[in-house]
């Protein structure tokens, strides 16, 4: 059972454009929703995270939008740069479950000049 669904699988954006990646979850017990960025040969690195008591969180060019009723959340990358080219994973966890992460399937982002 895939508890976190992520789309699109791949994304090509022009430099300066907005990259948008979407995730949907099923388990209403989830209370922590992070986004991870992964470069080839490296482990995932936390980019930004949100809890369900807020609808939006912004850190620099990265914004998470969260819709609790729809059980959806998304990552927006503003002014996308070639250095943002990486694989992005959404994830979810709940404190009662030891905070173990359930990951989406990943989105391969390429930012073109």
């Amino acid at each position: 059972q895939q508890q976190v669904k992520q789309s699109p699988q791949s994304l090509i954006v022009q430099k300066g454009g907005i990259s948008i990646i979407n995730c949907a979850y099923e388990n209403t017990a989830f209370d922590y929703f992070p986004w991870y960025q992964q470069f080839p040969g490296k482990g995932p690195a936390l980019l930004i995270a949100i809890r369900p008591d807020v609808s939006e969180k912004k850190e620099g060019r990265f914004t998470i939008s969260f819709n609790k009723s729809a059980k959806q959340f998304s990552l927006h990358i503003m002014d996308s740069q070639p250095g943002d080219s990486a694989t992005y994973f959404c994830a979810a966890s709940y404190s009662g479950g030891g905070n173990k992460l359930t990951f989406g399937t990943g989105t391969q982002l390429k930012v073109e000049l």
Partner: protein
Amino acid sequence: GAGVSQSPSNKVTEKGKDVELRCDPISGHTALYWYRQSLGQGLEFLIYFQGNSAPDKSGLPSDRFSAERTGGSVSTLTIQRTQQEDSAVYLCASSLFGQGGNEQFFGPGTRLTVL
């Protein structure tokens, strides 16, 4: 400060052999997680240690997989009688569970190839 380290970075083994993968978490982190990243299954949870509590082994795919954490620090993931489907990148993460958030810091992973 030092991040999560894992060794070896790459491991090639023959089918049927046992392998041990090591994880050194960030000093002071009480929680330690193992995940597996493979083309077919994506990123999946394997096992979780928190302090002195019994580990959560709910993600281990078979009884060929086991892990231990000695002294609340270093962890070893052991795969016995390796199979080709065990080929994947094994990732370790640690966190300050219950202290200010759930951020998990990942190591660079061990790429396991079973021939």
